[in-house]
Symmetry: C2
Subunit: 415 residues, 2 copies
């Protein structure tokens, strides 16, 4: 009697909306999944809604009600992913591959009832494990969980990434693979920087900064959860075969010490409060009403105080500006500021790389590169692995390209 040891991987594969946009693409994805299972791996799939389906459903809701009830909107939006899961399972059946489409409810994904922006609370993976044991590929509807009362809660735009990572953690998967309409994580947005290059790998923290600073490649909460649980994520194309980018927590981090990517974000507005009295509690008086109105503030900068009066500036997403502006007059009156100005013609450009903040000279090189490219800097903020400048929108292209060159990212041997 002889033995053979079989090595296989347990993997969660996630396919985004573009990858399942129509019947043909769904059949293509089914072929990919079936191939992977045929190669011996154990696969769980997470799908997004088809193409623009989520937007179509939102439009339909707005036809019915100007301000759709959040619980009912979630019940409606959840159907987008239910459809994709059922259709992909059908396509796999048509290839003689056993599969089973599961709603977020059937897959045991539980969330608190914060409709439209739920967070995954726990995953009861019994059903998925049972399907795997029975030799069926579980196809899970992304973007959603249910409350203990079985009401649907959606997890925010792009959150199917989060479903995939959370399932990967719950199932003890070896890795999570997200297939998108890009070939991986790039040193900059290739639509802006022609010399942009795919990164073979990137550290969780670098990816998190990139996601937070405007990269659309991965949902930032998905990266957070992966980092906390040390689950590697592969980002690859669902259209083209290729190695993609592996997001992980490799040990070579410490020595890396260089800029890994330039990230741009055009969805920025700025509000400046003029002549704010510089006294204790003033920030709370400004930001509490904004938070209560659901306005998420990004960067806050307070200039040095002059005769106990200061200018305070914050940035926010452009879509939140109207709501914020509706509160600003009251806020100015309450705190005794002179007034406020709002500016939407701005963009945010960041360099990201582990260790760049502890190593001197990166900030200076960044400012020099921008000055040489004749880009004025409006605001500066930094984190441990990131330096961000806010510049005029019209200068964003120059700024991103100049930084990409200045930090050696154009060079294929350095990436």
């Amino acid at each position: 009697m002889r033995w053979r040891i079989l090595y296989f991987m347990r993997v969660v594969q996630k396919f985004g909306g573009t990858s399942v946009a129509d019947a043909e693409r769904i059949r293509h994805v089914a072929g990919q999944v079936a191939g992977r299972v045929g190669a011996g791996d154990e696969v769980v799939v997470v799908v997004s809604a088809m193409g623009n389906r989520t937007d179509e459903l939102i439009d339909l809701a707005l036809e019915v009600s100007p301000d759709p009830d959040p619980r009912e909107l979630d019940q409606l939006l959840a159907t987008g992913e239910h459809m994709s899961a059922a259709l992909l399972a059908m396509a796999l059946h048509a290839m003689e591959q056993e599969a089973v489409g599961l709603t977020g409810s059937q897959a045991g994904i539980y969330s608190r009832a914060s409709h439209g922006s739920g967070r995954i609370q726990r995953i009861d993976a019994d059903r998925i494990e049972e399907e795997l044991r029975a030799g069926r590929i579980p196809i899970v509807a992304g973007f959603q969980g249910v409350t203990e009362e079985a009401d649907y809660v959606t997890l925010g735009r792009g959150a199917s990434d989060l479903t995939a990572v959370a399932l990967g953690v719950a199932l003890g998967a070896d890795r999570c693979e997200t297939y998108k309409d890009v070939e991986g994580v790039y040193t900059a947005d290739p639509r802006i920087v022609p010399a942009a290059r795919r990164l073979a790998d990137v550290h969780y923290e670098e990816m998190l900064e990139m996601a937070t600073q405007g990269s659309q490649v991965m949902h930032n909460r998905a990266v957070e959860v992966a980092a906390t649980n040390e689950l590697p994520i592969l980002v690859a194309s669902s259209m083209v075969d290729g190695p993609g980018t592996l997001i992980h927590g490799g040990s070579e981090m410490e020595e890396r010490n260089r800029v890994r990517g330039v990230v741009d974000d055009h969805d920025i507005a700025k509000v400046t409060l003029r002549h704010v009295p510089d006294r204790r509690g003033i920030a709370a008086q400004i930001f509490e009403p904004l938070a209560e109105a659901g306005v998420s503030v990004d960067t806050i900068v307070q200039n040095a105080s002059e005769r106990n009066l200061t200018d305070l500036t914050f940035t926010l997403a452009r879509g939140d500006l109207r709501r914020a502006a509706g509160l600003m007059d009251d806020i100015c009156e309450a705190i005794g500021a002179d007034g406020y100005t709002a500016d939407t013609n701005l963009g945010k450009v960041s360099i990201v790389g582990a260790g760049i903040q502890t190593e001197p000279g990166y900030a200076a090189r960044m400012f020099r590169a921008l000055a040489d490219a004749e880009v004025n800097i409006d605001l500066i903020t930094t984190s441990e692995i990131r330096i961000t400048c806010i510049v005029h929108e019209d200068h964003m292209g120059q700024a991103v390209n100049a930084l990409h060159t200045a930090f050696g990212l154009d060079d294929p041997d350095r990436v």
Copy 2:
């Protein structure tokens, strides 16, 4: 201290696909429901999928797979009603009326896993009762139940009627109201018989015969369940205000003794087996393979035997003919019949009324009326409250109109 006793009705209202076809109609339905609640009644709503949504989903499934897996098709189709439920709940919220959209799963409707043709097994109405106590209108997705494993099972085309009636029974409702694109149950199809009149009321058994014999107004299993549990059903228009038709089990039944309606069905095909040896077990040899192939046979007629050879004829839905024909050669060989013929140019016309079979003369009057209208009769079958003739398709209009007149249904005072 004084007391006032408030009388109110607990009612299940069901709105079909045409009634919720678009945002405008959904808002109209919301207005109707809110009005009813405002008048003091306790209302639970059941909705179908919007307009042609179910057919669109089936088309999408067929694009993905030529033969969609039945479980996955049910998971897909269930989303049609989920959407309607969420949208109607939103529309009610927009009218400041608390409401909650519920999937079949959330509403506690359990079914066995006979995908595409499930039967409701039990209803756990706790969630619905809880919502009613909290002052919210439960809006339940029709047409679906779930297995104990929470997999969706659809209940067959038109089965949202069944959901409504079953919920009515489970909730101890005073009655069930189904709102459709017709103003009630008619003495005949008004598109064929201009003199057709709305019936103010109709008995369960009469309605059941009408539904089984081709009337599209009510799903026959819905009528069965209502009859067994003595739940009255009102059929009325969702577009026009009007009294509708009450389906019930009134005590005046015995004395009625007259024709209540003429029903036509164009979805008929006929298969005749020629020279079938007349021996025991022959019927089983013919109909077992058909049943196994999922072919539902309607009427079976066996002519008198002549020298131990008989002709055997059965009717079936036209859509099932291709599947049946694929089996007929084998069946003929197995039983030693000469061969078979198939005919699709047929229609079925029935007169329905409690007591007509026990009272002599109805059959004779029917045959006379058809003969006078120059309609040849192909086959005859009867039940306790029905007489059915199968005639050539081209003669259907004449046949239905002739019978409508012959049995006094043109006369407004008799209906």
